[in-house]
């Protein structure tokens, strides 16, 4: 994060977003982000832009990365989702990969030659990722991965999955959280595309099954025991940050669309903008959007300074921004009426996507617990009843 980037990333993000603005509704309807768009985003350096240049990135600062996500998010949540998942895996490998793993994966991720997906959620493990049951068992100098992962963003087209599992019984170890990279073309990987979900419909979401998939030991990221607290922890922290900024972009785009509509649309001889109730909705929405942006900027500054509290401030930013996006998108649909409900409506799509943002990368309720926990600990109150055998891992 050297702060100086040759290209103006905000302008780059804005240009890219403008170029695809007219296409995003069709991607959503088709349930697919065209391969050419993914390639173009990679060519422009928008994937893993915050990786240091020596690893193939642009060395973008957190604030620059955030602005890119806001611009893309204001046009298409799924496109921003691509930046998010690629960024999560990149961040985890940058921080916890070996020199060899960084060299092998990071430049390829930044160039978009390899699309990565984050595979943590299971049927019985959502907010509580410590409950994952996917097994990563040693077999000689390799490992086998067995389990089912759900709701994987871009899981349908990913080349590699960052999989959270537990060490299996063969070596007598005790089910410690572990992360393995599993290439999609290995025998035993089966992918079941999901269609018609509430939001992020162009994000090629999939459920993925791993049946005794063999991976070499160099595919393990960090030692067993550190898979959840450190590797997945780093990925989620990065994911929350880019999701938060994507939500700022959604809120700002929806506010703009609603204001424009209110000025243009006349009913009974009066512009909608002349109605006090409409103005009140817009006023509240404007404040929500600005507040979310400021919290995201605050998180960006703290991340740039490697402030330890940046983690919880990022949770707060994501929480506030997802809530703002949901609320502002809802108001925008309300102001725009039928135009907001139309199949190709930006605000209608944001309304669906924003709700998903209140659930993924830490639900609103889990976020509140973390924020309150942080607050209360500073006042000398011990933690809530975290289960030591889970939250306290690794052991």
């Amino acid at each position: 994060m050297n702060g100086t980037t040759a290209v103006d990333l905000t302008a780059l993000g804005a240009r890219f977003a403008d170029a695809v603005r007219g296409d995003a509704a069709a991607w959503d309807a088709r349930g697919e982000l065209p391969a050419e768009v993914r390639r173009e985003a990679a060519r422009e350096g928008l994937l893993d832009a915050d990786l240091p240049p020596r690893h193939g990135g642009l060395g973008a600062t957190p604030a620059q990365l955030g602005e890119v996500c806001a611009r893309l998010g204001g046009v298409c949540g799924s496109l921003r989702g691509l930046v998010t998942v690629q960024g999560m895996v990149g961040a985890a490998l940058l921080r916890w990969g070996t020199a060899g793993q960084r060299e092998r994966w990071l430049p390829a991720l930044a160039r978009g030659e390899v699309l990565a997906a984050f595979a943590a959620t299971e049927t019985e493990a959502g907010s509580d990722l410590a409950a994952v049951t996917t097994e990563v068992e040693p077999h000689g100098d390799a490992y086998t991965v067995t389990g089912g992962k759900r709701w994987i963003t871009f899981g349908e087209i990913a080349d590699v999955y960052l999989v959270l599992g537990r060490t299996g019984g063969a070596d007598g170890t005790d089910g410690r959280p572990v992360v393995a990279l599993v290439e999609a073309d290995r025998p035993g990987v089966r992918c079941e595309p999901v269609r018609g979900q509430l939001g992020l419909r162009a994000a090629q979401v999939a459920h993925v099954r791993f049946d005794g998939v063999r991976v070499p030991s160099e595919n393990l990221v960090a030692p067993p025991g550190f898979g959840l607290s450190h590797v997945v922890g780093t990925a989620l922290d990065h994911g929350r940050f880019t999701v938060a900024w994507g939500c700022v972009g959604m809120a700002e785009a929806c506010l703009g669309a609603a204001a424009e509509h209110a000025v243009r649309r006349t009913q009974g001889g009066v512009a909608l903008a002349g109605h006090q109730q409409v103005r009140a909705l817009l006023g509240r929405a404007a404040v929500d959007g600005r507040a979310a942006r400021e919290l995201c900027l605050r998180a960006a500054r703290m991340r740039a300074a490697v402030d330890p509290d940046a983690v919880v401030e990022t949770v707060a930013a994501k929480y506030a921004a997802a809530r703002a996006a949901t609320s502002v998108a809802g108001s925008a649909v309300q102001v725009m009426g039928a135009a907001g409900c139309a199949p190709d409506s930006l605000v209608g799509r944001c309304y669906r996507d924003a709700k998903v943002m209140e659930i993924i990368e830490g639900s609103a309720q889990v976020s509140e617990l973390h924020i309150a926990d942080h607050l209360l600990r500073a006042h000398g109150h011990g933690p809530a009843r975290w289960r030591p055998e889970r939250e306290g891992e690794p052991r």
Partner: protein
């Protein structure tokens, strides 16, 4: 007393004091040297990354995958030893 980022090795007393202040502030109670805050369930799921960030930012060291051994991080005493070793290495290299 103060140990600015990026210069020389840290001294035992000040590191102990700083870590004690940080950990006590973030875990909601004063900690003994050998109390295992992970085993005691005093940490939430964000804490592991916060602690790594704190050590990196405060002492100007980089924590990498080679340092990932929970024995370095689970008690105040062990964390202090880890910081001293990391900063000593840096002092020698400087």
């Amino acid at each position: 007393m103060d140990t600015p980022n990026g210069t020389g090795a840290a001294d035992v007393a000040s590191v102990t004091e700083e870590l004690h202040a940080y950990l006590s502030g973030h875990l909601g109670r004063a900690l003994g040297q050998d109390e295992d805050y992970f085993a005691l369930g005093l940490v939430n799921s964000l804490f592991a990354i916060e602690l790594v960030n704190f050590v990196e930012q405060r002492y100007g060291v980089e924590v990498t995958v080679d340092d990932l051994d929970l024995d370095h991080f689970r008690t105040l005493g062990r964390l202090r030893d880890f910081v001293l070793v990391k900063t000593a290495g840096r002092g020698a290299a400087a």
